[in-house]
Symmetry: C2
């Protein structure tokens, strides 16, 4: 097996975040569940946008944030995701490439615009996400470059992509290529609603040993294992994957390998501004450490450091020199 | 004369800023003059964007920033400016309306996209601006609503609009309507290059008593008065307008009325992040104070407070509760 050209190749939604500050009254008046993600259609996207405050646009997308973080940490990364031939598509493509990520998926006109996520950030730094998937859910299987997948040490799958049918098929095809090439497959569960709707499919994948590295937060782990007891849930799922990583917000994170549990505390942050991207950047830090064959405690620590950076400002793409930050904090 | 419905109506470029962090080496390699603004065409906009780092999009435009600030300070404001029928046009229109500004100019397809400004922010918080004017320079005279102008206490003109021919004609028409309705006309000189190219026209306007309130920074004042001696320059121009306001960056600002000079120090800022919009927000604070018939020292102070807020973060639209901030600082 040749040395892979890329450390991490992600398949995910190609989204531009539209970030606005909102108060709790607005979240309540709109009937939104704070901290959650929901999918919306074009009409609801327009209606909500009209009611939202002034916004800033920053490229996002869970898997895209992760590989942008991998590149910021000095890893070699690629991204596969579908944008439309419009200005937001240009913004997404520019930003991911400017982050140093290989991005070859061609923009295409499906008659729907590039995906956007209306992110409402409340004063407690929680984000409530309203995603219009647009072109993102059209990702066709022929957007895959088998050679690129074979050349990547880790194929990283965004759980959000499980929901629409076409990207799900595309991802399954990517998994087959990666496994045939003996590459690692990582999956992030993304959101409880994904598990609620696709638990059988996801568990099937995990049970069949297709997933090497699984990322989840506590709620997702509970939904997947159908157990509210954290330790029980960890044990149940950890047995099915090589590496299980569970993020626990301010409680830090754990990783389990060969029944051995490793822990890290959350990294202190002066002021938490916007929690969007915390999990995405945790995965980025972890995966870079993993590829550098560092001990799991250090992988977790790198995840915690990257997550702490991204929640200290608006937007889910890191701003600081992450590589220098990690080097300083780990020394 | 009836009480005006709006405090300030601005005519200006309708621009979305594309803000990226850059180091001095990049500015030098690109042959750019740090701190300046230059106009670029579509090809150069594409070329430079491809080389720029990850960016965030935040609505901008000098006059638009000012009226957004006026609204944030509790004033009633309107904006006239041209966007295209594209996503950046939607972003601009959404943001200015969400700021509480009346914006009725219809998006139109001139075969060119909405204006964007590629803003490179260096670690010293200086901004170097590269503006592709696109649809913005097509603002037709029939975009004006004479009633709206007559209903505005102050017509605020953005100097940048002097450069392209059509908006210049549109603005002159607006000036006539405002003067006939006995409203105040304010002008901001925007940039030295505008004065270099249009000094005769601008001086003619000022000499003929068409401008009541003139905003300039030191360099613009020097270019307009053709004098490098600050006091001489102030005296020469102050005689020609009712109110002259000159901003001097970290040296604060002055205002002159009836040969009487008023001064304010710059407001202290914890960390200057991005100086984009400092002058625009200074004008906003000043004009709101002016409309509240406050003493000129207080108008200047309000300008300084608003400017200090906008340079403490990326983007030229204020983020804090400006009205509360000013109330606290003035008490």
């Amino acid at each position: 097996m040749t040395e892979p050209r890329l450390d991490v190749l992600a398949i995910g939604n190609a989204i531009v975040d539209v970030i606005s500050v909102a108060d709790d009254a607005f979240i309540q008046a709109e009937g939104l569940r704070k901290g959650s993600m929901r999918l919306i259609d074009a009409a609801e996207a327009k209606r909500l946008y009209d009611r939202m405050g002034q916004a800033r646009e920053i490229s996002g997308g869970s898997g895209a944030n992760t590989v942008a973080g991998v590149a910021a940490l000095g890893g070699k990364a690629g991204f596969v995701g579908q944008v439309s031939e419009d200005q937001l598509g240009e913004v997404f493509a520019h930003d991911i490439r400017a982050a140093g990520v290989e991005f070859e998926t061609k923009a295409a006109d499906f008659g729907v615009p590039t995906a956007r996520c209306l992110v409402l950030v409340t004063p407690d730094a929680q984000r409530t996400m309203n995603t219009f998937l647009g072109a993102s859910q059209r990702l066709p299987a022929d957007a895959l470059d088998p050679k690129q997948i074979e050349d990547s040490a880790i194929l990283y799958l965004e759980g959000y992509m499980w929901d629409p049918e076409e990207p799900r098929r595309t991802m399954m095809q990517a998994v087959e290529i990666a496994r045939a090439a003996k590459r690692k497959v990582a999956l992030t569960l993304s959101d409880v609603f994904v598990i609620e709707r696709h638990r059988d499919g996801l568990m099937g994948l995990i049970d069949n040993g297709f997933i090497d590295i699984l990322f989840a937060n506590e709620a997702e782990l509970a939904a997947l294992s159908q157990s509210d007891d954290f330790d029980e849930a960890v044990d149940a799922i950890a047995d099915k994957v090589e590496t299980l990583v569970v993020t626990r917000s301010e409680k830090g994170a754990i990783a389990v390998e060969d029944k051995q549990r490793y822990e890290v505390a959350a990294e202190p942050v002066d002021e938490v501004v916007d929690t969007t991207g915390a999990g995405d950047l945790f995965a980025a830090g972890f995966l870079v450490g993993y590829r550098q064959q560092r001990p799991l405690e250090q992988c977790l620590r790198m995840g915690a450091i990257a997550a702490a950076e991204v929640i200290s400002h608006y937007g889910a793409r890191t701003e600081a020199d992450l590589q220098a930050l990690v080097a300083r904090k780990l020394s």
